[in-house]
């Protein structure tokens, strides 16, 4: 054996284990720092540039800005920056949960159709119940949640065969359900009461656009994200056991049915949070957890915090790029993630021929 016997200290923590722990801590620190830098940079860039150095000084020492700069940064850019970070975090964590639930690294809220369900729910809110309003959201957030849960249960029922969810059935069921749901949103045009405004809202949803949310909307989505993350903590360990398969997990005392329901509810809550602010943004829930898994390995308890942070960072960067690349015009961030995520998804698909070794 070329491999030397690894040292084991008194507590029984092996070298490999210690290395993994320090690797996770380092990654967490890097992500927190990068996220802070990205927020400042993202606030600084745009149609009217505010020097990042000046902005950092303002944040650190109360160095004052001109009233114009204040409006641009606090009223216009800050909500959008926060919104992008929240949406990215919510999508990535829901991707992580769905991948564990389906025991399939290709599951993503967009791919498996739960985003499509959320869009349908949200558009019911926009078109049919425009007068119902809670903190500026209409019934949107709630209906997006209902739509997300409904569609994922449908896809799960269709794709789950004998305790397994084969890639092919998952992708096909997700594709079919997602397409039907997204397009059925257009039926709702018939009830359009405000001559095209709702239609434009819907169109931007389907492209996945981070727009200018109100503070009330941000508060609701933040609450949904916090709730979702808190609910994911006890599920992370369960996801590890569930990875061994239904029989093993049941035998080891995991209530598989209950865990699945919890995963569906929390994953859908996070999807709905993301869709309520950003619409259909594809592949984020796939790229982020997978990249983190390549660095840290598949242990869900370790992946959860880094995935939440990395998701926020990733979408913040993507959205900043989307609004500056062709300034003064703007791209939808969903267009950008589709261009990054599509090839990534295909690469994963090519590399998971042997029923998924990731």
């Amino acid at each position: 054996m070329a491999q030397a016997v690894e040292q084991v200290d008194v507590a029984g923590v092996s070298d490999a284990e210690l290395r993994r722990i320090s690797c996770q801590r380092m990654l967490l620190a890097i992500l927190v720092a990068a996220l802070l830098v990205a927020i400042v940079v993202s606030l600084a860039v745009g149609a009217v540039a505010v020097p990042a150095r000046k902005l950092a000084l303002m944040l650190l020492s109360g160095h004052s800005l001109t009233p114009d700069q204040r409006i641009i940064i606090i009223t216009i850019r800050l909500p959008r920056v926060l919104s992008a970070a929240l949406v990215g975090s919510a999508l990535s964590v829901s991707g992580l949960l769905f991948q564990g639930l389906f025991r399939n690294p290709l599951a993503d809220p967009y791919v498996i159709g739960s985003s499509g369900g959320a869009v349908l729910g949200a558009s019911v809110g926009v078109f049919l119940l425009p007068s119902v309003s809670i903190a500026g959201f209409g019934a949107t957030a709630l209906l997006a949640f209902v739509g997300a849960i409904g569609s994922i249960m449908l896809v799960y029922a269709l794709a789950h065969v004998n305790g397994r969810t084969p890639v092919v059935t998952l992708l096909l069921a997700g594709f079919a359900v997602s397409t039907m749901l997204s397009y059925s949103s257009y039926f709702l045009e018939v009830w359009d009461q405000d001559f095209g405004t709702s239609l434009r809202v819907l169109a931007s949803w389907l492209h996945g656009t981070i727009s200018q949310p109100t503070w009330g909307q941000l508060a609701i989505v933040s609450a949904m994200l916090v709730l979702g993350l808190a609910g994911s903590v006890p599920l992370a360990g369960r996801l590890n056991t569930l990875s061994l398969g239904e029989e093993y997990a049941t035998h080891l005392g995991v209530n598989v049915q209950q865990t699945r329901v919890a995963l569906i509810v929390i994953g859908s809550l996070l999807t709905a949070a993301a869709v309520a602010l950003g619409g259909l943004i594809s592949f984020v829930g796939l790229i982020v957890p997978h990249t983190m898994r390549m660095v840290l390995g598949p242990d869900h308890t370790r992946l959860l915090p880094v995935t939440a942070l990395a998701g926020a960072l990733f979408l913040l960067l993507a959205d900043t790029a989307a609004r500056t690349l062709i300034a003064p015009a703007e791209l939808s961030v969903g267009v950008l993630t589709a261009f990054i995520g599509g090839p990534f998804f295909l690469y994963l698909l090519r590399n998971t021929k042997r029923e998924l070794i990731l």
Binding site: V5, A11, G12, G237, N240, S243, G245, P298, D299
Partner: protein, 259 residues
Amino acid sequence: MTPVLEFAQTSFSYESRVLLREIQATISGGECIALLGPNGVGKTTLLRLAAGTLCPQSGEVRLQGQSLDQLKQGTIAKSIALVPQDVEVPFAFTVEQFIEQGRTPYLSLFGGLRAVDRRVIQEAMELTDTRSLRSRVFNQLSGGERQRVKIALGLAQQPELLLLDEPIQHLDIGRRFEMFDLIRSLSRKGIAILASMHDLSLIEGTFSSVWLLTPGEAMRKGTPEEMLQPELLERAFACPPRYRSALQDQIRGRRELVL
């Protein structure tokens, strides 16, 4: 002395097809039992009943005198470990992370592994000789290595009874010898073992008793010598009579292997 596990008039059927009829049997501490029978006779079902993951339609299965129905699965998993036949893991878990899952019944929802858990995992790896594999990815192991790692997960549960579903299937002859060595050494440690097999070689030197399942008949129990009779095996495995001498050769060959 109460047996570790007791089947009391346990019956199980899939829809209308009765698979196991009124099984009556006990497993005592340290006993090492081979469960023999043809494919589809219900060996895996019997092991699942013993592990509490399936419930019998009538009769019951008792752990230390207590019906499994009344125990939580997590409690059962601290006394009985089931090592399933095929395991598919969708992610690249290392061997160590895989074995750690055996501690699930001992952990709270929010707590990580404690020092005592790590110690048990170390012991499980030492007993199964899997220490050197700890950083390897489970999915990339060979059949024999996989089997030992799965047994290590079972040992991490600190069971009194280990249920092995076809532990030597798909293993080459060298790995089979190793597996029998491992079964013997675990048995010497006082862990009771019930292992399903449909291979007749090496039963005698390893197992203290044999349970033989014959389709449509009551389960037979006895010493390996009593059970490994050509007439019984011919009936159980539905061997065509013209192959009787070949079957006898198999059994004789088996005895020679043991010697």
